[in-house]
Symmetry: C2
């Protein structure tokens, strides 16, 4: 039987609310995901929340009912709460919402099978959670093997990144690493490291992309450091016809990833 919580002061509500904060996520190794679409996507990949919150008004929604049942069958807890508390947890004013507390699930470099996909995404010092989520969503769409985050990147389990990923956080393996361990792992096997750069004359459509290709995207504001550019097998540039001479990092990654996808299929 689902438990009901109607008090903001309840410790579990406070705990869940605190997971919006990076410090608390780091301590507990848990995170929040919200929305029926994302939680259903998670469930399809075999991940269920440890705790599910939903509003009384959506208790009879078939997907909410199924999800609630599955959470309890797996030993988790399903909690009916008020629209106000749900809005506070999700940061959205939507009484249809569901919110789940999940355990974090980073992958390790050693666990990746580089032959499982022709495209891998690598992002260095990515700072914007929306960009991270969007890159995961692109990764899902192109069938990328995973996203490898290098250095001080934004937390992939932040509420904004999870939301922007539209569920792809659950479908695309994410590894957090540093540059040298990543490079050492990469050079243990096949893999073409392709860097996007302004300092090259090689157009991104002129290159033969072997499989697997690792697409390296640099920091939103500063691009990648010279050491990383030097380690790339090839640097490519995209046309920039405008005055700004820059593209959003998630956009650049996507244009590149779709080019690699098309060229590997050809």
């Amino acid at each position: 039987m689902p438990r009901e919580i109607t008090a903001f002061s309840n410790p579990l509500i406070k705990y869940a609310r605190d997971l919006r904060d990076k410090r608390h996520r780091k301590a507990s190794r848990q995170f929040l995901a919200e929305g029926l679409r994302i939680l259903t996507e998670a469930r399809e990949t075999g991940r269920l929340p440890k705790t599910l919150f939903y509003a009384a008004a959506s208790a009879n929604h078939a997907l909410v009912y199924d999800l609630s049942f599955a959470v309890e069958a797996a030993g988790g807890e399903s909690i009916q709460t008020t629209p106000d508390i749900l809005a506070k947890l999700s940061g959205k004013d939507n009484p249809q919402a569901v919110v789940g507390i999940f355990d974090e699930f980073d992958a390790e470099l050693a666990s990746l099978d580089r032959s499982s996909s022709g495209i891998w995404l690598v992002a260095e010092r990515l700072r914007d959670p929306g960009n991270l989520g969007t890159i995961l969503r692109t990764g899902d769409a192109v069938g990328a093997g995973g996203l490898i985050l290098i250095g001080e990147c934004v937390d992939p389990f932040s509420v904004e990144a999870v939301r922007a990923s539209m569920g792809a956080l659950f479908t695309v393996p994410v590894v957090r690493s540093e540059w040298h361990p990543f490079l050492a792992w990469l050079r243990e096997g096949p893999g073409q490291l392709v860097g996007l750069s302004l300092d090259t004359d090689t157009g991104y459509r002129e290159v033969a992309y072997s499989s697997p290709t690792f697409l390296l995207t640099g920091n939103e504001a500063h691009g990648m450091p010279p050491e990383m550019a030097a380690a790339c097998d090839v640097l490519v540039k995209m046309p920039m016809l405008g005055k700004a001479d820059s593209l959003n990092a998630a956009v650049a990654t996507a244009v590149m990833a779709y080019e690699v996808l098309a060229r590997q299929a050809a």
Copy 2:
């Protein structure tokens, strides 16, 4: 001589702060843009703020000094203020910031020269300001003739859209229109209307894109209505290999725009 304002209660500070709100922007037809990079970009396109706010600490920064001088020379007002007030105006905790009040400057369909570019971006019911800004930035990069917003779109002059555009709001003409006036205008001259859709077997790399091509992107959650899809000269799809079966709208627009750019150049 720049005026100095140090009180939050000053009416001009309140006026500027209110421009973060859509209702106030609509009434005054003015908007806020922030950051030295964006304001410098604006200046290079010939647009200066009517009012410029900057912190005392950055008064001697050469770009701030030049900008301040240019604003006053053009009859505007340059105002030195406190880091706290600047943070309140910009929503950012950065005493280096500059914030400007600009007049809005929508373009009209009738003022567009469709022969000026091979690529035009058209977005229907775009709801996310970050997506709108990102699409403008992509538009700048591919040399798009402009962005045409159809129906109930997010305000291109919202703080979030301006920020995400990284200045491209000032370099890419934006028209706000409705579907029927747009379609009527489009059919008065040459122009291939290309819609991105899941309901077609035509791959986006199989099509010959004539010049000018108008790329139509539908609403983030619902795609485009059947009436709009039916009016397109061609519908194309992008590969979706993942489980989510969706791409971020700004990402999809960018992949398409770069494909059109490359194919028109070939």
